[in-house]
Amino acid sequence: MRFMVIVKASKEFEAGILPSGELLTAMGKYNEELVKAGVLLAGEGLQPSSKGARVKFSGSKRTVVDGPFAETKELIAGFWLFQVKSKEEAIEWVKRCPDPMEGDLEIEIRQVFEVEDFGENFTPELRKQENRLVEQMAANARR
């Protein structure tokens, strides 16, 4: 199963303070360990929200709001995509992560949805519907 491991932002991160060389080394080592264990599928570090934007949806209306955004602790600073056997394995790996930034912060672990996860509620009819949807999306993408 796959988990997205989300590193939340801090005040310093949002202020654009770059990580120290020491932290970069520690993170590099940690990433290497994840690769060597065959766990890391993908991962990226993000720029502060001041370089991002939000598109707000309200009916047919679209409003663009430029960053930065206020709620620092809810913002995302980076993510990994893990392939592991259980949530506990993902937790075990995250516990080994060096402090990603100064001060208190949080890393969130979220399981990626897979079709099998819908269990028996995901009937053959629903599967067909999902297939049609995906096909439609693909057709749209090709246009």
Partner: protein, 429 residues
């Protein structure tokens, strides 16, 4: 640890075991010179964890805790002379010649060279003195950290059978006095080939289950991919290991697309490419680049990965570069001549130059003894005949293929296609 129930701790211990067990066993094997004994020591440490951690909580560095516990057992064992006598003598002699105190030396010996030990464990698990079945079971057990029960379920075999197989494999290694080492020079290539073969066997067992109701068992694919990725980092200069990883990543990228709503298989060209996993395709293409960077001539896995990459790069089935695929199959049949490769080449040839040309090649393979009970031969032949409008003959071939396959889902699919052809040929008359 507040609020953690016993079963939560057990799950956490499972997770720690999965992460640490191979390193633990590898480090211990280096010292005690016996992979079976090393595994017993590691298991003892696991039992101690299961006993203590629900009370104390999982320690901050669980790997170190397990290693320290196993080391203590190893040292106790040495002191009490409880280990296999010969091994004991060897270790003792080795320690004496280094003229160092037994205990700290043992600690140092375990702490060094984690990667080297792991690689030695990979090679010993896939050692040629073992049968292929034994290599597969031992690899999943020692490197994958799977329980005997998990392996048994994955291969649809009774648990005692697997347990027996592992016990016998460990005894064989011990009796043959197989050294715990990384092969060097010309031996390396052959030994590495055995490792890659074992990993790909595990993958294929999951990807295209040879028996039973399930078309695939994704857990085995994931396990093989994990092992492949691990070995790729242990021998990063070997092109074929990246070739194999690339091949598995790209094949696995089609997992979601190759099974239909009722669990029936969907063939490559009919798959909805939007459902392919682009993270895995990306990884597969990156691994292929690594393979190409490190090798001057392409081996069989790199070639197969290159073919798989041709499909992965085509946005639609119609965009597939069949001429290039034919020439890659030409190269592949030089590296590893086999009737199965020829059959695949014939399929590609028919896509590039038409079904009649393909059928000629397939017919030339009909007398091949190795393909006598291979269901894909009549299946491919049936396809080509159908394309040529020879519905009656096509139907007979598909039915023959259905009778030969051991996979229930595939059989249903073949029979359904045969029945459709029957309707069409009736409608035509």
């Amino acid at each position: 640890m507040l609020g953690v129930t016993g079963s939560d701790t057990h799950k956490a211990i499972d997770a720690v075991w999965r992460i640490e067990s191979a390193k633990l066993i590898a480090g211990l094997t280096r010292v005690v010179r016996d992979v079976g004994l090393a595994e017993d020591l590691a298991q003892d440490a696991l039992v101690a964890a299961l006993d203590q951690w629900p009370e104390t909580g999982v320690p901050n560095n669980p790997g170190a805790w397990l290693m320290a516990t196993a080391k203590r057992r190893a040292i106790d064992g040495l002191r009490r002379g409880k280990m296999v006598e010969r091994k004991h003598e060897m270790v003792a002699r080795d320690l004496e010649t280094r003229q160092e105190d037994t205990v700290p030396d043992l600690h140092d010996a375990i702490d060094d060279h984690v990667g080297d030990d792991l690689l030695r464990l990979v090679f010993i698990s896939c050692h040629p003195v073992l049968s292929t079945e034994a290599r597969v079971a031992l690899t999943l057990r020692l490197l994958g950290g799977l329980t005997t029960d998990e392996i048994a379920r994955a291969f649809l075999v009774a648990e005692p059978t697997i347990a027996q197989r592992i016990v016998r494999a460990k005894r064989t290694l011990s009796d043959a006095n197989v050294p715990f080492e990384v092969p060097r020079g010309p031996e390396l290539e052959a030994r590495l080939a055995s490792v890659l073969e074992v990993i790909y066997l595990i993958f294929n067992e999951g990807y295209s289950a040879t028996a039973g109701d399930d078309w695939m068992r994704p857990a085995l694919c994931e396990e093989a991919l994990r092992l492949g990725r691990i070995v790729a980092e242990l021998v990063p200069n070997e092109p074929e290991v990246h070739g194999l990883v690339s091949l598995m990543e790209i094949q696995a990228s089609r997992t979601r697309a190759r099974v239909g709503p009722a669990g029936e298989p969907i063939l490559l060209l009919e798959q909805n490419r939007a459902r392919w996993d682009h993270v895995l395709i990306h990884r597969g293409l990156a691994a292929l680049e690594r393979a190409e960077r490190h090798g001057e001539r392409r081996g069989k896995y790199t070639l197969q990965a290159t073919i798989a990459a041709c499909h992965a790069r085509a946005r639609t089935a119609e965009e597939t570069d069949w001429t290039r695929i034919v020439s890659l199959y030409d190269e592949l049949s030089e590296v590893t001549p086999s009737p199965v490769v020829e059959l695949n080449r014939a399929v590609a040839f028919s896509m590039a130059f038409g079904p009649a040309a393909g059928l000629e090649l397939v017919d030339a393979l009909a007398a091949e003894p190795a393909l006598k009970s291979y269901h894909l031969l009549p299946s491919v032949r049936g396809d080509l005949l159908a394309k040529l409008g020879r519905a009656g003959e096509a139907r007979a071939e598909l039915e023959r293929a259905a009778a030969l396959t051991r996979n229930a889902r595939e059989r249903d699919l073949l029979l359904a296609r045969a029945a459709r052809l029957g309707e069409e040929s009736q409608a035509a008359t």
